[in-house]
């Protein structure tokens, strides 16, 4: 039997998978950022991203183009994240990690509810970020939207990496996350680095939401929840220890889920989510540190 593979089709699906994976990656990095800086599991990460997306949507309904709305929303989300941390998280920053996690659960309810309250439950649709025309590369048709999303995702991650590696503030934030006590002795205002971390995470969430919404066609206030699930799965797969692991894991997961959905006919949306759950459980059972993570050395 002649084994003919539709390489063009595979390439298209890989790119589409990287596009979804890119969105998961941004959200995963946002989540990991807060977790590594403060040890807090931010349950509200997805809902905040959703809220930002709705704000952007409102702007587009009032004459803003997609990209102007994008810029305004990301900046506003950055400020909003800082404000949120100062108002809601700071009062409990000395409490146990579990207490703070419960506060983020409360935040989840508030933000989700507020989104339903402010905007009606009927579905919305977002103008396209990129052209919907296909582009031919090496004779294969790819979606410009997919390539655009991949580009934006990689750019966001790159900018973040540059920030943390090469700027004074980024270094201070890394130091504060690693050793808050020593950081204070060096003059770093650890409390503000945490606020900044929340600002960045919320801004990243906004980027993720804004990339995710247009391709969906129509979305409602719950649209980020499955994406958050995939982001968790990607982060676990790559290793929650590092942002790089979260990114690579998310990209791999995106491709995997897409290929699964395309080539295994009985896998529908429901089963995509089940597959993600299976990945989470599987990785945690076999190799909790993920593909790239190192098993943490526990300090006695």
């Amino acid at each position: 039997m002649v084994f003919a593979v539709d390489w063009a089709g595979v390439a298209q699906q890989v790119v589409a998978g990287l596009s979804s994976g890119g969105i998961y990656a941004i959200l995963a990095v946002a989540f990991v950022l807060i977790y590594r800086a403060t040890g807090v599991v931010n349950f509200a990460q997805g809902e905040l991203a959703m809220f930002s997306t709705f704000v952007a949507w409102t702007l587009t309904q009032h004459g803003f183009g997609y990209w102007p709305a994008f810029v305004v929303t990301v900046l506003a989300s950055f400020a909003g994240g800082i404000a949120l941390e100062r108002v809601v998280i700071r009062p409990v920053e000395k409490a146990s990690v579990l207490t703070i996690a419960i506060v983020t659960i409360g935040l989840f309810f508030i933000v989700n509810g507020a989104a339903f309250w402010i905007w009606s439950p009927e579905v919305k649709s977002m103008p396209n970020a990129f052209s919907t025309r296909p582009i031919r590369i090496a004779g294969v048709a790819f979606s410009i939207s997919d390539l655009g999303i991949i580009g934006v995702s990689l750019l966001a991650v790159l900018v973040l990496w540059l920030f943390f590696r090469f700027t004074k503030l980024g270094l201070a934030m890394r130091a504060a996350a690693l050793n808050p006590e020593s950081s204070r002795l060096t003059g770093i205002r650890v409390s503000w680095t945490i606020a900044l971390g929340w600002g960045l995470a919320t801004a990243l969430g906004a980027v993720a939401g804004l990339m995710a919404a247009p391709p969906l066609g129509s979305f409602d206030q719950n649209f980020m929840q499955p994406i958050l699930l995939y982001a968790f799965a990607g982060a676990v797969l790559g290793g929650i220890d590092s942002a790089l692991g979260a990114v690579i894991g998310s990209l791999v997961l995106g491709v995997f889920l897409n290929l699964l959905g395309t080539y295994v006919s009985w896998v529908g949306t429901d089963l995509r989510q089940a597959a993600a759950l299976a990945v989470i459980l599987g990785v945690l059972l076999v190799r909790p540190a993920g593909l790239l993570g190192t098993t943490a050395v526990r300090r006695v």
């Binding site: 004074k168 270094l171 201070a172 890394r174 130091a175 690693l178 050793n179 006590e181 020593s182 950081s183 204070r184 002795l185 060096t186 003059g187 770093i188 205002r189 650890v190």
Partner: protein, 235 residues
């Protein structure tokens, strides 16, 4: 007027009273030692200064009351090298040094100090890109000192620098301190278990006992008095 003055300073950890009202001072350009047994309150004294513990009493630096938050204390010109050195083990040597200068705004000055630091501590220059945690104990102590110096402090607080280090390494370390003190007028308040070493390296010393100053005076005097040495310093 002394550079640093503590009057009636008390501090507690939860239910435990660690300092019960101590009076201490450091003059500009002086090296002062704080001695005593374990649990006497030596580390707590430094922590009181750098505001990493809650205190009551007067803490005055360069004529002004010291702020009660560590980040703010660092900005007044005090560098605290804590017990265990407080190195950022997962960051590189270079990054540790850059963090030392966090409070400074003079880019050119920082660059100059950075170069000078690498000259003064060649081993750090050699291991610039390595993770700080991979350095040996002695090298990490150098790094901790170098990082504190990058702050260009007026007062250096050292907590048990000799801990876990070979005598030769410790001697070199104190030689560097002495040099910094002579050449740049750096004031130093050093907490030490190794009393003889500390007395040999300092101008004055305070001996603490259960959170109070038991004996204070010129280091040379304290070294000579056998009764003091026997009762408080164990040799």
């Amino acid at each position: 007027m002394p550079l640093l003055e503590l009057r009636g300073v008390a501090a507690r950890y939860g239910g435990l009273q660690a300092l019960r009202g101590i009076d201490l001072s450091v003059d500009e350009g002086e090296i002062v030692a704080v001695l005593g047994a374990n649990g006497a309150g030596k580390t707590t004294t430094l922590r009181a200064i750098s505001a990493t513990v809650k205190t009551s009493g007067d803490l005055v630096f360069a004529g002004e009351r010291l702020p009660r938050r560590p980040e703010a204390v660092a900005r007044t010109g005090i560098a605290h090298v804590p017990e265990g050195r407080g190195t950022f083990t997962q960051l590189s040597v270079d990054e540790n040094l850059r963090l030392g200068a966090h409070v400074r705004r003079d880019r050119a000055g920082v660059k100059a100090d950075y170069d000078r630091t690498l000259q003064r501590f060649p081993i750090l220059a050699e291991r610039r890109g390595q993770a700080a945690g991979t350095l040996s104990g002695g090298e990490q102590q150098q790094l901790a000192l170098a990082r504190a110096l990058m702050q260009r402090p007026r007062l250096l607080l050292l907590d048990e620098p000799s801990l876990g280090l070979a005598p030769r390494v410790v001697a070199d370390f104190f030689a560097v301190i002495a040099e910094l003190n002579e050449q740049e007028g750096l004031s130093v308040l050093v907490v030490e278990q190794n009393a003889s070493l500390a007395l040999a390296s300092s101008a004055r010393a305070y001996v603490l006992e259960v959170g109070r100053v038991a004996v204070a005076g010129a280091s040379a005097e304290l070294q000579r008095h056998e009764s003091v040495r026997r009762s408080y310093l164990g040799y």
